[in-house]
């Protein structure tokens, strides 16, 4: 369970953003709100949304809702882990995590209503987009076992530039393995960081789909123990 603050506001997603719609996020029915949000982060993030704060950005130009930000939701993106890590991160530093995420999605071969993301950030004066692409390729080739990889320009409210990494699956064709980018100053500055931060969120389930030669995400949750046992052997 997360607050809207860490799930979206701290990531510079405007409170009116379509992805924060009630139809896309699971809301906690009881209790509905956290008691408070940590300062000075609340004030700094509110400032960045309203007018850019100290970042030089124009911000989103609207009145930040300090009640909405306390609303409890089920974590919808792994990037929340990175936002929470930034205030206590060292420079240089590398942080990794695995996060279970929940989204109101129609279940099919490549979508589940809950999924796992591996989340990572790399902080340092000398990191850049090339460094990031190198990390992404490592995940795609060495972990997921993809033979064909491509990068596509992407958009996420919290990164600029942003990139999607796509891999080619023998049966399902090209699909997105994950998203990445360099955190915007509107994300890092309020959380006390002033060096470039590479960030990515990669679907573990989707890496498994590739690595285990599956054709459907739902097979990952099979009751067929024999099948699961054989699959591991095949994966190795």
């Amino acid at each position: 369970v997360e607050t809207e603050f860490w799930n979206g506001d701290a990531l510079f997603m405007p409170q009116f953003h379509a992805a924060r719609d009630i139809h896309d996020v699971y809301y906690v029915a009881d209790p509905t709100r956290a008691k408070s949000i940590e300062e000075p982060y609340l004030s700094r993030v509110a400032g960045v949304h309203e007018n850019g704060g100290a970042t030089g950005s124009r911000g989103w130009n609207y009145g930040f809702d300090r009640d909405f930000t306390k609303r409890l939701v089920l974590r919808s993106q792994g990037t929340v882990l990175s936002a929470r890590q930034l205030p206590k991160a060292s420079v240089p530093g590398k942080y990794f995590g695995i996060a279970r995420c929940f989204r109101y999605d129609k279940v099919d071969a490549t979508h589940l209503s809950d999924f796992y993301q591996t989340e990572g950030i790399v902080l340092g004066d000398d990191v850049n987009l090339r460094t990031l692409l190198g990390f992404l390729e490592m995940f795609a080739v060495e972990v997921a076992g993809a033979k064909e990889v491509k990068y596509v320009p992407g958009y996420f409210p919290f990164t600029e530039p942003s990139v999607e990494i796509h891999i080619k699956h023998p049966v399902l064709g090209w699909f997105e393995l994950g998203g990445a980018g360099i955190f915007r100053p509107e994300v890092t500055e309020p959380l006390g960081i002033n060096v470039p931060v590479l960030a990515w969120g990669i679907g573990i389930d989707r890496m498994a789909l590739m690595a285990l030669s599956l054709n459907d995400l739902r097979e990952l949750f099979s009751y067929d123990i024999e099948n699961v046992r054989l699959r591991r052997a095949k994966g190795n």
């Binding site: 009116f16 379509a18 992805a19 130009n61 320009p153 958009y155």
Partner: protein, 290 residues
């Protein structure tokens, strides 16, 4: 994420070249866009529609046929587009037409920007595209028309100067688009489909916005509905007033700029500069093409 449908011929004309689906799909990634569908079998070329999904929710300039074409063209040719009609410091021309923004709109919907264009008879495909641009821009970027709404009008029926003011809901009536009888503003909000859809924006306001000509002819009731005459653009019309009203000055100005560029790309030229009280204080003024 915004999804748009573009007319195949119009799109390739704006792009300056035709291409097959594989090439287009690959090229669309530079607009952070995806090819969502393109039926070529059994459809006449002039009726074919390419469906495009835009992944960047913060680039409203891409949510139109001209917008996507501009992005792809810029990438292919490595030349940045240059729009001469934007005024620059020390190059502000006198307005020939004007819209007077009355103080009465301040509490309800204070900002307006607009421009006047001419030079080309609008085709069915272009008109559909303009309506789609209006929908995408005002729904997504304009927060369901709350912060930005847009209207297009036929110049030939307008008596200048136009006045943007706020009135009591029962004090003005006109025939709205899609109806055949005169209705006052309150009835439009209660009975017209667009009134029901967007009425939430005005329901708590005491006075409601109105755009009217010097002869009292009503252009529209922003952000709800155009009039059935001045505001009923038809295929073949050549000269237009395009205006934007809203609650956020920056969004209104940016929307006007986007649509101005779209029309310029489509071959329209500036008939005259149009000034308004609010927009003329901005560095984003629109002026006549020199």
């Amino acid at each position: 994420m915004p999804k748009i449908e573009v007319n195949e011929n119009l799109f390739f004309e704006l792009l300056g070249e035709r291409m097959d689906a594989v090439t287009l799909e690959q090229l669309l990634t530079v607009a952070k866009a995806e090819l969502d569908g393109w039926q070529t079998e059994g459809v006449r070329q002039e009726d074919r529609v390419i469906k495009i999904e835009l992944n960047d929710t913060n680039r409203p300039d891409l949510w139109s046929t001209a917008g996507v074409a501009r992005q792809l063209r810029t990438y292919r040719r490595s030349v940045l587009p240059d729009y001469k009609f934007f005024s620059r410091e020390g190059d502000v021309k006198k307005a020939e037409y004007s819209i007077n923004v009355d103080k009465s709109v301040d509490p309800v919907r204070p900002f307006l920007a607009g421009f006047v264009i001419s030079g080309k008879a609008i085709t069915d495909a272009m008109l559909r595209d303009a309506i789609q641009t209006q929908e995408k821009l005002c729904w997504n970027y304009g927060r369901k028309r709350r912060s930005v709404s847009m209207g297009i009008y036929r110049i030939s029926l307008i008596k200048w100067p136009v006045r943007y003011h706020a009135v009591a809901p029962e004090s003005a009536s006109f025939v709205p688009l899609g109806m055949d009888k005169k209705m006052n503003l309150r009835d439009i909000l209660a009975e017209h489909p667009k009134g029901k859809e967007y009425g939430f924006i005005l329901q708590n306001e005491k006075t409601w916005p109105l755009l009217s000509g010097a002869d009292g002819g009503i252009l529209s009731f922003p952000p709800i509905i155009n009039s059935n005459d001045i505001g009923a653009v038809e295929v073949g019309d050549r000269d237009f007033l395009v205006e934007f009203t809203g609650t956020e000055m920056l969004s209104v100005a940016l929307s006007a700029n986007i649509v101005a560029c779209d029309f310029a790309d489509a071959g329209y030229r500036w008939a005259a500069k149009l000034r308004s009280r609010i927009i003329s204080r901005l560095p984003l003024r629109l002026t006549r093409d020199a």
